[in-house]
């Protein structure tokens, strides 16, 4: 179980994440939603320990992650928002390096990498430098790197970005299958349709604060709205989107 307790992050006086608290349980897929700049990626980075929080606590299975950061990192897999990879390495070299850095047994890791590359249709390009990979291929490398050590916690920041339809469908099923095996998922995305199909509950963030934290079904009933999109619009979209669209047309056409 992943728990964030009153987590706050300030950058030079600007509060990016303000007193955020929620729980992501094992077996559940928790969607983490919010408009651009609402603090989603900052929360993800704090949860991966890439950046430090200003105050609050992040607990995994009841223990603050800072207590034994190394042990926590061993159990965590992360797909970042931007596919930054060492493009001078080949896909295979990168994944082998990740396995080595994680101290995984060489033979078993090689078998696992080989299998995952085949399943994600990347095996034929494994000796090609990442510099020549498309965005979707890079995303697949990130996914394999995140799954390689069979983590208990998966932090996915826009994992569907750049993936083709088939791989997207595979990933959707994969997330559900792994959650069914007791993994903890925190899943951030702007694709509300996907979130609605994949996640059992959602946390909606607006201006660094949580404005909703419940199952999608319960939110539908509570807010008397038919879709996650309408719930999101109600909670996190301040502007009149149709009016903005008209203003843009006026500006461009004028």
């Amino acid at each position: 179980m992943l728990e964030l307790r009153n987590v706050t992050k300030r950058f030079r006086g600007i509060t990016a994440v303000d007193n955020v608290s929620f729980i992501a349980r094992a077996g559940e897929i928790t969607g983490y939603l919010g408009p651009n700049g609402s603090g989603k990626s900052t929360t993800m980075k704090m949860t991966t320990s890439l950046i430090e929080m200003t105050s609050g606590a992040i607990l995994f299975d009841g223990d603050p992650i800072q207590r034994d950061l190394m042990a926590y990192k061993q159990r965590m897999g992360y797909v970042p928002e931007e596919p930054h990879l060492y493009s001078h390495l080949t896909g295979l070299e990168y994944l082998v390096m990740v396995g080595q850095l994680r101290g995984l047994p060489a033979k078993r890791t090689a078998e696992r990498i080989d299998g995952l590359l085949r399943l994600l249709v990347l095996h034929g390009d494994r000796h090609v430098p990442i510099s020549s990979y498309s965005k979707g291929m890079r995303q697949k490398v990130l996914l394999i790197a995140a799954l390689l050590h069979n983590p208990d916690l998966l932090l996915l920041d826009e994992p569907f970005s750049g993936l083709d339809v088939t791989t997207g469908l595979v990933l959707r099923s994969l997330i559900q299958d792994l959650a069914a095996r007791g993994k903890v998922f925190l899943f951030s995305s702007h694709e509300l349709e996907t979130v609605e199909r994949v996640c059992s509950r959602v946390v909606i963030l607006h201006r660094g604060r949580i404005v909703a934290d419940d199952s999608i079904d319960r939110l539908r009933v509570l807010m008397a709205l038919p879709t996650l999109e309408s719930i999101f619009s109600q909670l996190a979209v301040e502007q009149d989107t149709a009016a903005i669209s008209r203003q843009i047309v006026d500006l461009v056409v004028a």
């Binding site: 991966t48 320990s49 890439l50 950061l69 190394m70 042990a71 990192k73 061993q74 965590m76 992360y78 970042p80 931007e82 930054h84 990879l85 060492y86 493009s87 001078h88 390495l89 080949t90 295979l92 070299e93 390096m97 990740v98 396995g99 080595q100 850095l101 994680r102 101290g103 995984l104 060489a106 034929g124 390009d125 000796h127 090609v128 430098p129 510099s131 020549s132 790197a145």
Partner: protein, 583 residues
């Protein structure tokens, strides 16, 4: 519209000479800081090296005017050759910025920017950078040379109203600009021809090798060219073939012609300079313009990637634990595949090669090893010992420098989210990487040479000392905060290290020469020989012990972002036990 576009593109291309990706976040993308440092480095070089040579280039004032002019030829040739080397190295360093890259094309193509504007902005930026590389080191030497050639038997007023002084000044600058332009244009021409005749993918692959080859050629020619700057040597039939390949002598001829001091011996050289300048100028303009226009289309049509193969990737051995292996293999692959890093290391090795070449050319070395006696190479000699020590030092220091420069800084998140074992594991991994990439190759090269040419006893003895020296130096380079090689940001301002390095290199070489002479004597006497490892081994072990202790005290802290020194320095008064800052 076009003027505004030109101005914006010109500025963008000029600052592209610096790789912003490598900068620390603290530098806030300030490329002008690095350009400023580059100019400062050139000015210091000019002040310490070129200025004394420029005074000497005026010739001995006690000699009669014609003899005096000839007396200054060797120094004038050094000035021209050094100017060509500086410009050449600059052209090599800014190799990739001479032509548009894929990002330029993809960003600018959809915009209403004409190819001509793009081309002119690029030419203007390159010309500005070239001017910077010529003007910064030659400013003071030009004045010194003009005064040195014009002051004999003249008062100040005579000097001011003499047209000769202005002619000398103009001749100096025209020659330096022409020589710099020649070398810069030649390198551009080579790139342009390669871009014309090779498919884009092959060009990208060849470009890296051409860059390294150009660097090696420049350094080799500069340091190994013979001294022929006297009339007899210049007209000698046996030297004509060599002179045909030494452009600095051609421009020496041009300088004499422009200065109005043309000697019959240098007249053919001056003609060759003008001819070469015309060929390179027209060739560069043609290939640059053609390749520019054709490359824009090629870049869009062909992917801008390093050609990859679908065959099995490069195999590398295991280097200890999984983490150490990961870091060592990552470091090796980064160095082999990053042109920028290879070039920086090659620069240090080139300097070592140059010092070695100079040592082997000294009269003492000539007497010791370049003797006609058969088998003299098989005798232990101080210049050979010095050369091996210099190469080892340059390799280790160069490796330290390239380790600190990142490859794709934003990709280092993978090292941050993975449990790495903290500073102690990082130290051990870096140590392995240093040994594999610096100490071992230098040692193996010299082992192959010494075991083959020297009797086995002194060979083994010196290799033992060389190995200990390399390991101790590697330990020295591991001091401080622990950083994963090629994965941490580089902070501008640390280049004071480079300046310190170059300022102290002369002292260092003298010290190494002294140590090598001592070692040469020690290799003949066991007690004296044992003294050297008896000093080196404990010194290395002490530094190693200190490094291990420091890393253990740092715990999990591996540094990924270089921090600038604080604006306000604390006095550390809290450490005396009387006052605690926390209280």
């Amino acid at each position: 519209m076009t003027k505004v576009q030109f101005r914006i593109l010109y500025r963008e291309f000029l600052f592209r000479m610096v790789d912003l990706e490598a900068l620390s976040a603290h530098a806030q993308g300030d490329a002008s800081t690095l350009l400023g440092q580059f100019v400062a480095l050139l000015l210091i070089f000019s002040l310490w090296v070129l200025l004394p040579i420029a005074f000497a280039a005026g010739g001995d004032a006690r000699l009669s005017p014609p003899t005096r002019l000839i007396d200054g030829w060797p120094a004038q040739n050094i000035l021209i050759a050094t100017n060509m080397l500086v410009v050449g190295l600059f052209a090599v360093a800014s190799w990739d910025s001479s032509f548009p890259n894929r990002r330029d094309v993809l960003v600018l193509s959809p915009l209403p920017v004409r190819a001509r504007t793009l081309f002119l902005a690029k030419v203007a930026a390159s010309a500005t950078a070239l001017s910077l590389a010529v003007i910064a080191p030659n400013g003071l030497p030009s004045l010194a040379w003009t005064l040195a050639t014009s002051t004999a038997n003249r008062g100040l007023l005579d000097l001011i109203f003499s047209s000769g002084i202005y002619r000398s000044f103009a001749a100096y600058w025209l020659t330096m600009i022409a020589a710099g332009g020649f070398i810069f244009g030649s390198l551009l021409c080579v790139q342009g021809l390669a871009a014309q005749f090779l498919p884009r993918r092959q060009f990208l692959r060849a470009s890296g090798f051409l860059q390294l080859a150009a660097f090696c050629l420049l350094v080799t020619i500069y340091f190994s060219q013979p001294s022929l700057a006297n009339p007899a040597a210049l007209v000698a039939a046996q030297h004509q073939r060599v002179l045909a390949w030494l452009p600095s002598y051609w421009f020496l001829g041009m300088l004499q012609q422009l200065n109005g001091s043309m000697h019959p011996a240098v007249a053919p050289l001056a003609r060759r300079a003008w001819l070469a300048l015309a060929i390179v100028g027209s060739g560069t303009a043609a290939t640059y313009a053609l390749s520019y226009l054709r490359m824009l289309r090629k870049i869009v049509e062909e992917p801008d990637i390093v050609p990859g193969s679908r065959r099995r990737g490069s195999w590398l051995p295991i280097f200890g634990t999984a983490f150490e292996t990961a870091i060592a293999q990552f470091s090796l692959r980064s160095l082999f595949r990053s042109r920028q890093h290879r070039l920086i290391l090659a620069f240090y090795l080139g300097i070592a090669f140059a010092i070695t070449a100079l040592f082997l050319k000294t009269p003492v070395a000539q007497r010791q090893i370049i003797s006609k006696l058969p088998g003299v190479w098989r005798q232990v000699s101080a210049p050979m010992l010095t050369s091996s020590i210099v190469l080892m030092i340059a390799w280790v220091v160069g490796t330290r420098i390239v380790f600190s420069m990142p490859v794709e800084l934003r990709a280092n998140w993978i090292f941050r989210i993975i449990p790495t074992g903290g500073a102690p594991a990082c130290l051990e991994a870096r140590r392995k990487a240093f040994i594999v990439m610096a100490v071992a190759p230098a040692w193996i090269i010299w082992a192959a040479i010494f075991v083959r040419i020297w009797p086995w006893k002194p060979a083994i003895g010196h290799l033992l000392i060389l190995g200990l020296l390399g390991l101790s130096l590697a330990e020295l380079c591991l001091r401080g905060v622990q950083k994963i090689p090629f994965a941490c940001s580089y902070l501008p301002g640390r280049s004071s290290f480079h300046i310190t390095f170059w300022m102290s290199i002369l002292l260092l070489v003298m010290l190494i020469d002294y140590v090598a002479s001592f070692e040469q004597r020690a290799l003949e006497s066991v007690p004296q020989f044992l003294l050297i490892p008896a000093i080196l081994l404990p010194a290395g072990l002490v530094v190693r012990w200190q490094n291990t202790n420091t890393a253990q005290s740092q715990g999990d802290a591996v540094c990924f972002e270089a921090e600038p020194p604080p604006a306000v320095m604390t006095l550390g008064l809290g450490r005396d036990g009387a006052l605690t800052l926390d209280s």
